[in-house]
């Protein structure tokens, strides 16, 4: 905590100094998307002002410069998640596309009738629907690991659900609506005993905690740029080389080919085989600054600071007797979901907004979790290293006023 100069950090994010509805912005919707530091904003401006061109296509100066920055980012991502090779880093539009890519290439190639794909009850819709679609197409079954009332995976059930029919496991690292940190290393170890590949949805973990793909031995990892202080529309799929090489292309088009004739097309090698068409170049280049920014602050410092904010917010909110926290796992990330009896989350959201506080209200694209806890929706505050305890106080004060109004 003492390692972070939060005031300095806040001054790096231009949006944090603005007013909303006449009040200083309190941005507690970081699990939906994070704000962008000036470094990222300036870099995108720099890209369009100085080196805008298409990548991998020109022999001219601008294209070579842009291509170098584009490919250097791949190495930066490789280093950030400790992948063995930069060729294992595929650019996508985001976590959702990363998962869809694996489901419709690896899934389509390997699943047959009667096979099973295993997910958990706390997946985001983006880690449910792609698997449902491919299972339906192949006649495979989608199996779900249940969770406890605290929002933790029931690992004994996971053990029971794995069998010789299980062909793929896809699990979220940190739940976006409960904050639960799942024991993914254990999950992967167990799966590998049965030679089952595992995809980790790291959309809510990559910005909060150290993710090391070689140490985890995960087969695929998916995350988004915009939830880690980078631009929207850019995401990453990491995959082990030996798996990626066997997978068919995802989309056809330019850049993913070696040669094309009307009789036969030869595909490019990985990662380009999966990157058809002109990519989101400024997204990639902006993402590089986001990663550098995180590295400058240090992921350990970020983790510690955010744990501290979560602890403080949990204590403060627990003092309000009308509040019930949804998601009380022992290992939690800086996500605080809650309901207040008799007050719908949307009313809470509108009320807090008038105090300049941005939180998320709704089902958070996790309808099965809402049904599991028998609530139509929750309110969710999610914190970042640029948030302050003083902001938590403003938030708790505003919550008390809503309760008063509705009582």
């Amino acid at each position: 905590m003492q390692n972070l100069d939060v005031n300095k950090i806040r001054s790096d994010f231009p949006i944090l100094s603005r007013l909303v509805n006449g009040k200083p912005l309190v941005y507690f919707d970081n699990a939906a998307t994070t704000q962008k530091p000036k470094d990222v904003i300036d870099k995108i401006n720099y890209y369009y002002s100085n080196i805008n061109s298409n990548v991998h296509r020109g022999v001219h100066y601008l294209s070579e410069t842009a291509s170098k920055e584009y490919e250097d980012t791949r190495k930066l991502v490789q280093n950030f998640i400790n992948a063995k090779s930069h060729n294992e880093i595929i650019y996508t539009r985001g976590t959702t596309e990363s998962i869809n890519l694996v489901a419709s290439t690896y899934g389509r190639n390997n699943l047959v009738e009667g096979d099973e794909v295993l997910i958990t009850h706390m997946e985001h819709h983006s880690n449910i629907v792609p698997w449902q679609l491919i299972c339906e197409e192949k006649g495979a079954k989608l199996k779900v690991v249940p969770i406890t009332d605290d929002g933790e995976l029931i690992l004994s059930e996971y053990d029971k659900l794995i069998n010789e029919k299980t062909k793929f496991i896809s699990v979220v690292h940190i739940s976006n609506s409960l904050g639960t940190i799942n024991p993914i290393k254990k999950i992967i170890e167990k799966a590998h005993k049965y030679n089952i590949p595992v995809l980790i949805d790291a959309a809510q973990s990559i910005q909060h905690t150290n993710v090391n793909v070689q140490e985890l031995e995960c087969d695929f990892l998916a995350f988004s740029g915009h939830k880690m202080y980078g631009p929207t529309g850019i995401g990453i799929l990491y995959g082990k080389k030996e798996l990626l090489e066997k997978m068919p292309p995802y989309q056809g088009g330019g850049d993913m080919i070696l040669s094309v004739s009307f009789e036969k097309t030869l595909f490019n090698s990985i990662p380009y085989k999966f990157e058809a068409g002109t990519p989101h170049i400024e997204g990639v280049i902006g993402l590089s600054e986001a990663i550098k920014y995180i590295q400058k602050i240090g992921i350990e410092n970020i983790s510690n600071y955010e744990s501290d904010i979560l602890k403080y917010a949990t204590e403060q909110i627990s003092d309000i007797k009308e509040v019930k926290i949804i998601g009380t796992a022992k290992e939690k990330s800086s996500i605080l979901s809650f309901v207040i009896d008799g007050i719908h989350p949307h009313d809470i959201g509108t009320f807090l907004d008038r105090d300049g506080i941005a939180i998320r209200t709704g089902h958070h694209c996790t309808e099965p979790i809402m049904r599991r806890f028998n609530v139509p929706a929750t309110s969710r505050a999610s914190f970042s290293f640029y948030n302050l305890k003083e902001e938590v106080d403003v938030f708790v004060e505003s919550l008390r006023s809503v309760i008063k109004l509705f009582s």
């Binding site: 719908h344 989350p345 949307h346 009313d347 009320f351 008038r354 089902h363 139509p376 509705f406």
Partner: protein, 152 residues
Amino acid sequence: MDAELNDLYQQVILDHNKNPRNFGELESANHTAKGHNPLCGDQLDLYLLIIGDTISDIKFKGSGCAISKSSASIMTTLLKGKKIEEARVLFTKFHDVVTADTDTEIDEEALGKLAVFSGVREFPARVKCASLAWHTLLSALDNKTEEIVITE
């Protein structure tokens, strides 16, 4: 609390949220419809007993925010005993109230009880909450019992 928020959460709305009128199932209903707002998870079941061209009884149940619940509650109190044509006129009036430009003067007298929803105009994200019950009403009048009305 600021003035706009005060306009949105008027006492009448808070009261209907806490004590919704005509809440529950109507077993004798011959026109029903379901409303759903996937964005916030609001669910609404609307039951009408229509005899001739008159809504002789009306009830609703479901879960939702204060705006959607009070809108449904107030709607039922306005519609009981009204002719179908009158109900359609009220729908248009309501629609105009929640979607009018914020600088349009509201004729409170002509609107009667519906005037309490004029504050919704300041909150574009909440217009769907307020109108769910009324859109479900249109569906129920047409007796599209199986069709789920979606506002998002």
